[in-house]
Amino acid sequence: MISTLAWRNIWRSPTRSWVIIGAIMLGIWALVFMLSFTVGMVQSYVDNSIENGIGHLQVHNADYRQEAKVQYYFSTDVLPLAQWKTDERLQGVAVRTLVQAMAGSSRATRGVVIKGVDPLGESQATPLSRQIVEGEYLDANKKNCLIISKTLAGKLKVKLRSKIVLTFQDLEGHITAGAFRIVGIFDTGNKAIDEGNVFVNRLDINALLGNSAMAHEVSFLLKDITTLPAMKAALTAQLPELAVEDYKEVAPDLQLYEGQIQTSANIFMVIIMLALLFGIINTMLMAVLERYRELGMLMAVGMNKARVFGMILIETLLLAMIALIPGLLLGWGTVAWLSTTGIDLSAFSGGLSQFGMSTVVYPKLQAALYLQFAMAVCLTAILGAIYPAWKAIRLKPVEAMRKI
């Protein structure tokens, strides 16, 4: 009956109760939305980084990771390429030769990284072949062809079929150069990638460097990220002389971003729960002060302090529960809807693409965070009930009722 009493007490002042229920619902919805948006942004950044070249795993000469010198290569003869082709866990394997170079047209020069790639492997491991907006993708059978981004082409003032001269140091440290013809122009949407890289056939650049069987990097794109630890272990065993790293080791910023999700969740939760806490305290304090005389009577006829405290606590928890379930459902529904339609931020796409993010963000939220929110709301309700309940049990029946 105490629960019945608590339930009916809530509806003594329906407007006041609905206001706080609405506030809690809105708070939960805002929390779910804000965090799912943040997760979506972070995930977009991480996914883009992985898909646009980093991959899930990378292999390098250990020295190359310390200093990206062209001499720190490894021989492709040690790579079990045939075995990887049949590995069910792998989406694609990209073998790359990487060279710092100056790209010069007849009208401008820019510092770039030449990525010498195997066209087929690169197209399986990255979306590069699908990002060609003009011309065609690299052809393994055509010599000295090059693809360049639309942005960099603009800066170098070149177009399709223009010639570009790439100047760099070979393995001996001698300056060497090669002329390449632009066969395709791509647009990844990621300014860092677009402005800093040109792609050529790996065998062409290897020939200029002076070693046809060399590479600096192998990037692996997995079909399922859950296979990453096992794949990493397998590669480490296969290539004991080389450094095998996952994407978090290759790009620590990705780990930092992923780690920010829980931190963001905690910060959002604390801010919103603090706001709700004061709302709950205010509502429950009003409810207690309005019923001061009645609470005095309840204690006069034998309701002990623990039960009075419990009744106020139950009232507060019921208010929170009424708001919690629809609030979470509303938040979940919003996330479910937006995770398929996405939020189009094309108005800010310039800024976003500079940070390697997509212009459409797909909010998402792990189920565990919904549970955390539910627990946070319950905890807030309990904290919010403490002061009003303490106030209630401190009253003296005779003073509360003035007289029996």
Binding site: M1, I2, T4, L5, R8, N9, W11, R12, R293, E294, M297, L298, M299, A300, V301, G302, M303, N304, K305, R307, P397, V398, M401, K403, I404
Partner: protein, 227 residues
Amino acid sequence: MNVITTSGLSRVYNPDTIPVYALKEVDLAITAGEFTAIVGPSGSGKTTLLNIIGGLDKPSNGQVIVGGTDIGALTDNQLIQFRRDHIGFVFQAYNLIPVLTAMENVEFVMLLQNQPVQLRAARAKELLASVGLADQANKRPSEMSGGQQQRVAVARALASKPSFVLADEPTANLDAASTTQLLDIMAQLNEEEGITFVFSTHDQRVISRAKRVVTLEDGQIVRDEIR
């Protein structure tokens, strides 16, 4: 057998500045089955006396023994439990729980005593019938007249099978017909079931029905008349 015994009972407000004596050396013994009215002018100490006997207030000096227990020696929580099990209260302003029905209001004290649901329901029905409100069991206080609410309050006061019932001006807010009806019920419960009633009142109609009238003036008993 004495249900209530007070000895040397005093209650002083502002003892350190300008002392105001609400009660002075009150010695009173009430035996089981009495139907006692505490009367006196406003400010004579009637309510203070009832508050102290009911364990809602503490005396400055003296002792209150209820059923052999010195209630002044009990802690707050023990006192709450003592009131629940031994004292029935009827308040001037009815003080029912507005969100509960008549039946639930009567059951409430038994719930606090952790009595089983079926026992509570049966006794609540029986008590409501005894105050003539069997057909009002499912109504909330706001749907009942003042007289009906006060009868529910009497039923609630009896629910825990208390040693006695304290009623502070129970008829003050009632019309003549409701007053008569309430007094009839209380008198009947006193005569037939031997329930001890102690009530404060100004109302001559109530005083005329009392078997014992204790008159207070300036915090002291000036007359104690047994009829």
